[in-house]
């Protein structure tokens, strides 16, 4: 770890003791620190994400029913709940993929309820998907190059007009260097030219996280990032997440694996039948009778 300087200038306090699953192992240090070349996450409100009285029903089923919670900056917060508790719907409501029937979502002090997914992503709130949704017929490098926000060449006229295209090409070279750094950080640089559709499940998850990072987010919503990932890759993914959290990124994590949540998250929010059943530290949650009953299907 000694050769890993924090290059992003993060002002987040990271003097937390090395827990059971704290920081990356020493033999992982080769991957180096991640310099996105874009300044890293912003530092603003202490609670960047606040969800209030969120409600969404599909037909007669109320998937999210008056849910309210907030996520602390620089934390790794877990969102758990039995199947059908409304976790994925909540994610979709936060990121604008679904419109809530009632309630509000606030990000960095500004209300973002009802905004389009791309507008929310451009604010720095970026999600990944439950089933990794890599862009199959694009190479890993193309996938990664897509992500950076507001690229010059995304304007059609600039990409085709002689003279202006030189600026585009110049930025492409800069982006490629950033992309390469991130690929090395995630240790997937050896598959850079591979089509994303040919990757293994775990590699896809890594690619998705890496791609999301290139949008220069402040907060990442990860929807079951460990589903279908083998234990050693899971370890690697977790190490990366912890390292990024130390650099100041905020994470909200949906996960089924209770042990994993309890070992890695500082705070846990429990959803049950669309409502926030309780929230607290892993120890508090583990001791909570209601949570146990919810998971075992008992009547509360």
């Amino acid at each position: 770890m000694s050769d890993v300087p924090s290059s992003t200038g993060s002002e987040i306090d990271t003097d937390e003791p090395d827990g059971a699953a704290g920081v990356p192992d020493a033999d992982d240090a080769e991957s180096g620190s991640l310099d996105l070349g874009a300044g890293g996450p912003d530092v603003g409100e202490p609670y960047p994400l606040e969800v209030e009285n969120l409600r969404k029903s599909f037909g007669g089923i109320t998937a999210v029913d008056d849910a309210s919670f907030s996520v602390e900056r620089g934390s790794l917060t877990g969102l758990i709940g039995p199947n059908g508790a409304g976790k994925s719907t909540t994610f979709n409501l936060i990121t604008g993929m679904l419109q809530p029937d009632a309630g509000s979502v606030t990000f960095d002090g500004e209300e973002i309820t009802g905004e389009t997914p791309h507008a929310i992503a451009n604010r720095g709130l970026v999600r990944t998907f439950q089933i990794a949704r890599e862009l199959q017929e694009m190479t890993v490098l193309e996938n990664m190059m897509l992500a950076p926000k507001f690229q010059r060449g995304e304007a059609l006229w600039r990409s085709v007009t002689p003279g202006f295209r030189d600026d585009v090409i110049e930025q492409e070279s800069e982006l490629l260097e950033r992309v390469w750094a991130v690929l090395e950080f995630f240790e997937i640089d050896h598959i850079a030219e591979e089509y994303a559709g040919n990757l293994s499940g775990g590699q896809r998850k890594l690619l998705e996280l890496a791609r999301a990072l290139l949008t220069d987010p402040d907060m990442l919503l990860l929807d079951e990032p460990f589903a279908g990932v083998n234990p050693s890759l899971e370890r690697r993914l977790l190490d990366h997440i912890h390292e990024l959290r130390e650099q100041g990124y905020t994470f909200l994590l949906v996960e089924h694996d209770m042990d994993l949540i309890m070992e890695n998250c500082e705070r846990v929010i429990v959803l049950h039948q669309g409502q926030v059943l309780t929230e607290g530290s892993p120890d508090e949650i583990q001791a909570n009778e209601e949570v146990i009953e919810a998971y075992l299907g008992g009547n509360v």
Partner: protein, 445 residues
């Protein structure tokens, strides 16, 4: 498959070389068959001119469709509608003012032809915008329904009596209705050369050509030169769309094709990108419509039936959706083999067997085969109906392709969506320079 790839890789000049060699083979085949069957020189030149014309228009249309379908995944089956908009608006703008007693029932605005061409292109793009605004928010198949409906609405609008003629700025203008619209402007080719002050030089060329084709060489030279000009347009389309594809813009289009939700959740305003790409493609289709029909003397709305749309689709599928080079090749192969080929074959056979008369119907054709096992009438009948059988050939080719090579000739060879080559070695060298050569992470796992 690998043999074909090797062959493609070995041709010098890359994509351009590949396109040129295929064109060369096609032309050589046409000329050789013509020579073998004793076609006249004039006939040969005409054949080449017509072939070039169709290769060019189908290549342009396939390129434009490739932007929609191959890159962005937009299912546009209203291509012919945009072509109709292009040529009709061009005619409207460039036809001379109405003269009572002239052959043309209606006049136009009397503006230069180049203005008309730009107007036709822009109009097609704007109609694309109108179609895109509601339809792009829907799922892909709804866009297909909207576009084909649009192309029929366009055709019926130009057929309708309402638009047949009306007064504008005190002069009689209109679209001619079902009886068609006479394109009574100066011949675009002549106008083109006059713009550059080359009218005289061009006539000199025509005279020089008289040595080869003594009798009235002008139409032959005109169509040859026009074919060449169209090939320049193909090059321009190719250049423009290659740049569009090899850019961050093209990368977002590709991402939309793969998974629009992902592009959206990475902060890309996908509706904007789709609208832009759709408009650009529609404008190019409009221009292709102008170039296809502007020297045809007259246009009628019923030319613009959906079958042309599906011809373009076949061309793109043959070439390989997603590849600009493939689109040009698909356009060329479709025009040479499926569109012009059967007609050419029939002309040749007619020329070679001038005395053979085909039976008048299917009954007389099949009867000798049944009664005294004589296949000749059926054969002659088949050759005589080759234009009708053309569609059957196209269907067979499509079925064969879907079974054996659904990605088309070049669809498997992906064109990288970036302004710079995205290869590991290049990027690795760069990072190695900037961070002191620490490229770790490969050894573990």
């Amino acid at each position: 498959m690998s043999v074909r790839d090797d062959l493609a890789a070995r041709i010098p000049g890359g994509d351009t070389g590949l396109i040129l060699s295929i064109l060369l083979i096609v032309y050589a085949a046409y000329v050789l068959v013509g020579v073998g069957l004793g076609y006249s020189l004039r006939g040969q030149f005409n054949t080449i001119a017509v072939l070039t014309f169709y290769i060019a228009v189908f290549a342009m249309l396939a390129l434009a469709l490739n932007l929609h379908w191959g890159y962005t995944g937009l299912f546009n089956i209203g291509i012919v509608g945009f072509m109709a908009i292009g040529i009709y608006v061009m005619a409207f703008v460039s036809k001379p003012l109405y003269q009572p007693g002239g052959a043309a029932q209606v006049g136009g605005l009397g503006l230069p032809i180049i203005v008309g061409m730009i107007a036709g292109t822009v109009a097609a793009a704007l109609v694309g915008l109108v179609v895109a605004l509601p339809a792009l928010r829907l799922r892909a198949d709804y866009l297909a329904i909207v576009t084909i409906a649009m192309s029929e609405i366009v055709r019926f609008s130009f057929l309708s009596g309402e638009f047949e003629q009306f007064e504008l700025f005190g002069t009689r203008v209109g679209f001619g209705g079902g009886s068609g619209l006479i394109l009574n402007y100066t011949d675009p080719l002549t106008a083109f050369f006059e713009v550059f002050g080359l009218g005289g030089a061009y006539l000199g060329l025509v005279d020089a050509f008289g040595a080869l084709v003594p009798n009235n060489p002008k139409p032959v030279v005109d169509s040859l030169v026009y074919g060449l000009l169209l090939l320049l347009f193909v090059a321009a389309y190719y250049w423009l769309l290659k740049r569009t594809g090899e850019s961050p813009f093209g990368r977002v289009l590709k991402a939309i094709r793969e998974d629009e939700d992902v592009a959206n959740s990475l902060g890309k305003d996908t509706n904007r990108f789709k609208t832009k790409a759709f408009m650009l493609g529609c404008g190019l289709m409009g221009l292709a419509g102008v170039l296809w029909f502007m020297r045809s003397g007259a246009v009628t709305p019923n030319t613009f039936r959906p079958r042309i749309t599906f011809f373009v689709w076949i061309a793109l599928i043959i070439g390989g959706a997603g590849s600009n080079t493939g689109s040009v090749l698909g356009g060329a192969v479709f025009a040479a083999l499926l569109y012009q080929g059967p007609r050419y074959l029939k002309n040749l056979i007619d020329a070679a067997l001038p005395n053979a008369s085909a039976p008048s119907g299917f009954g007389p054709a099949i009867a000798p085969l049944v009664s005294n096992v004589d296949p000749t009438p059926l054969l002659l009948y088949t050759i005589d109906s080759i234009r009708q059988l053309q569609l059957v050939f196209m269907g067979l080719v499509l079925i064969w392709l879907m079974h054996n090579r659904p990605e088309g000739m070049l669809g498997h060879r992906k064109e990288t969506a970036a302004g710079i080559p995205l290869t590991a070695s290049q990027a690795r060298d760069k990072t190695a320079e900037t961070d002191g050569g620490t490229t770790g992470g490969e050894a573990d796992e």
